[in-house]
């Protein structure tokens, strides 16, 4: 499978102010919790513009920044770094459920 | 920067009557002059010989101990907060007020934020430079933000430990 691994592809991310949820900037300039909706910058220059746009829309989020991503043939994007992968897809182990253990 | 003074009517901005003297400027014969710590050290005698009050501006690394003998001769001390998170001047304030008995105006400079006021009042500050919106209103309320304190400090408030002792002794007697 061909992947664009160059590191040139970038999306803008932040945590939402009200609840801390991880969000990405979409093409319409809204913050979405779906990575597949994120606006992609395909080179350095558009990356800078994307970050400026994100900072201009930062009223309801905290400290936007750029995240390097890869893209599959089918357009699926995934962050390059482990940290950003974890931010995008959540914990890498099963958390204990609230009612995990019942007792008599 | 707008100046606020504790106790001024409903937290209004107050006039700053002090003339901030550059280190190389001539010392005027009268009027209220404010000088740097370095200038004070170098021209102490001349400054004291003139008519009119003198104030000193300190960096938060300046040794306040050096002013111990002069606290009664000074009418203003300005302590600086280069950023919110740099708390050295709180210690300077407590030493000036508590240990050396300074009674003049103690001013916080550097752009005070309203969330610092309660701490500053407890350390003996009574005037504040701030650019923050709503600072005056916050100052008016700051003394009553916490009706209980745990530490004895220069503001003279009784800490909880003392109030408890008093209460117990009333109960006993």
């Amino acid at each position: 499978m061909a992947k664009n691994l160059s590191g040139d592809l970038q999306v803008a991310s932040a945590n939402r102010l009200s609840d801390g949820v991880v969000v990405w900037l979409d093409d319409a300039g809204d913050w979405t919790s779906r990575l597949d909706r994120a606006a992609i910058a395909r080179d350095k220059r558009t990356g800078e513009i994307l970050l400026l746009r994100a900072q201009a829309e930062a009223f309801a989020v905290i400290d936007p920044f750029l995240v390097a991503v890869t893209e599959d043939d089918d357009g699926t994007i995934e962050p390059l770094s482990l940290r950003e992968k974890i931010r995008a897809s959540g914990l890498t182990f099963d958390v204990i459920a609230a009612d995990a253990v019942r007792y008599a | 920067m707008p100046l606020y003074r504790e106790g001024a009517p409903s937290g209004l901005v107050v006039e700053d009557p002090w003339l901030r003297l550059a280190d190389d400027a001539a010392v005027p014969a009268d009027g209220m002059v404010l000088v740097s710590f370095a200038r004070w050290r170098e021209a102490r005698a001349a400054l004291l010989a003139r008519r009119g009050p003198v104030g000193v501006v300190l960096a938060n690394t300046d040794p306040v101990e050096a002013l111990a003998a002069d606290v009664s001769r000074l009418d203003l001390m300005v302590l600086h907060f280069p950023k919110f998170s740099d708390g050295r001047a709180y210690s300077q304030a407590r030493l000036l007020r508590g240990r050396f008995g300074y009674q003049g105006e103690l001013r916080a400079s550097g752009g005070v934020l309203q969330d610092q006021i309660a701490f500053m009042l407890r350390c003996g500050f009574d005037s504040f430079e701030s650019e923050q919106k709503g600072f005056g209103e916050a100052l008016a309320k700051a003394r009553t933000l916490f009706s209980v304190v745990y530490q004895p400090t220069e503001d003279g408030r009784s800490p909880a430990s003392l109030l408890r002792l008093k209460r117990r002794n009333v109960l006993v007697s």
Binding site: N15, L17, S18, D19, G20, V21, V22, I62, D63, L80, L82, R83, I86, R87, G90, L91, T92, F93, V95, I96, A97, A98, D99, A100, V101, R102, Y103, A104 | F84, S85, D86, G87, R88, Y90, S91, Q92, R94, R99, L113, D115, A118, F119, M120, R122, C123, K133, L145, F146, S147, V148, Y150, Q151, P152, T153, A160, S161, L163, R164, L165, R168
Partner: protein, 557 residues
């Protein structure tokens, strides 16, 4: 409901905490309305225990000196269900972390905490942090005096201290009242050790400048013997010296340990004593009455006489091997005959260390009510402790814990792993900690083997900040990042036992995540092959050194 045998808030304490909640509510409102920038708001939320982690805000709830009532624990369960995802993480600083708090809910969560006299004050930020103490305090057979009395006195003095809320860096104080230090006082900014001098008086040894993190250091003695009633005046003098002269130019050099290291302990002592000469006769002197009033609140429960020789315990011990092992590892001597201290292991094989679900917290609270005077402790080893259990009740407690999944007989053993949240949660992390702990703990799950291996402390941190205390692990594991790959640096021989406090020796190049279990397995094998009579892992390491461990480990990978 049973009464509590530790400090009870009075109206002063309650007023202060609730006024603080009101203040924070207003600060959150201003932030959400855009009146405060993140830069301005961050220090405010931090001093209220609210962090921003990778996926959400995290609220760190203070559990002062690790002491908790069943009622408080139930409330924590409740809060975790209502405002979080129904579980919490007990930390190495005896706190509880809730990982999924919303900023807009945080004031309500804090108000709920205040209902049971709890708060999240000063669990973060550059202030005096929540004071920790021996988790066996008030129950241990070897105790000279209950350190929690002093921890409470320090808690009050340090809460919203106007002079020390913007220190160069965070400041951690730990107190122990036993010769067997369970509070790790030599690796804190200030460690206080109660001891009895030749005249028979009890006072503090004041230890300064210890700490882990990027530059680990063992604390040095600042004052051999400090009369107890002078504690606050002495602490104020020390903190003032630190606040004025501690470095602020470099985040990594801002802890008091660096100041002590740079000026030398003699100069530090001279400065503190000079300052103290001025403060000692001031208002901070503690009157006997004040000390007495607080001591009374820690008066131990009147434990009804119970038998030391419980037939049922003996019978079960002979018939159930796991129970026999549990008695050995999870039950410690109590100062009262007929009683014991029981540790509930929050490290079942393969589970995230230190995590408890809301249901588990409630179950633990029920056990505390039925068998431990309604009282609990949180240990810095991330376990929960029942301080006052009758020996006769041990089988019942064991069974009840078993139903919760907390009866693993592994306290102090290889699967009783300390791990920080790591890259799964933490914004500062280089690598994951929890999955590594889970793999090691699954690998060594068998109890017989664990008990054969004996005492072995594995401590894992996801970055150099060392929240997992890896420097002082018998085996320390530190996550590092090399070009986006998680690697783990392994060290041996760390220890926090008093008099033996030592920092681990790094073995060599870091290993990849999939090799960590094999590496640990090899270290254990080397130990088993080389150990002398009665030698623990760390004793063998001290005798034979790092080489044999190292050679075999790298050969095995």
């Amino acid at each position: 409901m049973p009464d509590t045998y530790f400090y009870r808030y009075d109206d002063y304490d309650r007023t202060l905490v609730s006024e603080r909640v009101d203040q924070f509510r207003d600060q959150v409102r201003r932030r959400l309305a855009g009146e405060l920038t993140e830069e301005q708001f961050k220090p405010l939320r931090l001093t209220n225990g609210l962090y921003l982690q990778l996926h959400a805000y995290m609220l760190r709830v203070a559990i002062p000196y690790g002491t908790l009532s069943s009622r408080q624990l139930r409330k924590l369960a409740d809060i975790s269900r209502k405002y979080d995802r129904g579980y919490g993480h007990f930390t190495t600083r005896q706190n509880l972390q809730l990982n999924w708090i919303k900023l807009e809910d945080a004031p309500d969560a804090l108000a709920a905490l205040a209902e049971v006299d709890m708060h999240a004050l000063q669990t973060s930020g550059n202030c005096i942090r929540n004071v920790t103490a021996d988790h066996f305090a008030g129950a241990a057979a070897d105790e000279i005096e209950d350190p929690r009395i002093w921890a409470e006195i320090v808690r009050q003095w340090s809460t919203l201290h106007p002079e020390f809320t913007f220190l160069p860096r965070k400041f951690k104080i730990a107190i122990t009242g036993s010769p067997n230090d369970r509070a790790a006082v030599r690796v804190h900014d200030i460690g206080l050790r109660l001891w009895r001098n030749e005249q028979g008086e009890v006072g503090f040894e004041v230890i300064v400048g210890g700490g882990l993190g990027r530059t680990p250091m063992i604390g040095k003695t600042l004052r051999e013997f400090l009369p107890k009633n002078e504690l606050l005046a002495y602490l104020e003098a020390t903190l003032r010296v630190y606040n004025r002269y501690g470095r602020r130019d470099n985040l990594y050099k801002a802890r008091i340990k660096i100041l002590v290291h740079e000026v030398g302990v003699e100069k530090m002592r001279a400065d503190v004593e000079a300052e103290y000469a001025e403060t000692r006769d001031g208002l901070l002197g503690l009157s006997d009455e004040t000390i007495e009033a607080i001591s009374q609140q820690f008066a131990p429960p009147d434990l009804p006489p119970r038998s030391n020789l419980a037939g049922a315990v003996e019978a079960l011990r002979l018939e159930d091997r796991d129970f026999a092992l549990w008695l050995k590892s999870n039950v410690a001597p109590h100062r009262v005959k007929g009683y014991a201290i029981v540790t509930a292991s929050l490290k079942p094989a393969g589970a995230p260390p230190g995590d408890a679900s809301a249901v588990q917290m409630e179950g633990v609270a029920d056990i505390a009510d039925a068998y431990s005077q309604g009282e609990l402790r949180v240990s810095h080893e991330q376990n929960l402790i029942f301080p006052h259990v009758a020996i006769e009740d041990l089988p019942a407690v064991y069974a009840a814990l078993g139903r919760l999944g907390f009866a693993e007989a592994n306290v102090g053993k290889i699967t009783d792993i300390i791990a920080c949240p790591g890259l799964d949660y933490c914004a500062l992390a280089n690598a994951r900690s929890i999955p590594v702990a889970q793999r090691i703990s699954s690998h060594f799950a068998g109890l017989a083997r664990q008990h054969d291996i004996g005492d072995l402390k594995i401590k894992i941190s996801g970055c150099i900040n060392a929240c997992g205390h890896h420097h002082v692990g018998h085996i320390g594991i530190l996550g590092v990042d090399k070009n986006g790959v998680e690697l783990y640096q392994i060290s041996l021989g760390g220890d926090v036992d008093f008099g033996k406090t030592a920092l681990g020796t790094i073995l060599g190049p870091a290993v990849t995540a999939d090799k960590v279990v094999e590496a640990v397995d090899s270290l254990v094998t080397t130990y088993l092959d080389s150990r002398g009579d009665g030698e623990r892992f760390v004793d063998t390491f001290r005798r034979i050194g790092a080489e044999p461990f190292k050679d075999r480990m790298y050969a095995a990978l």
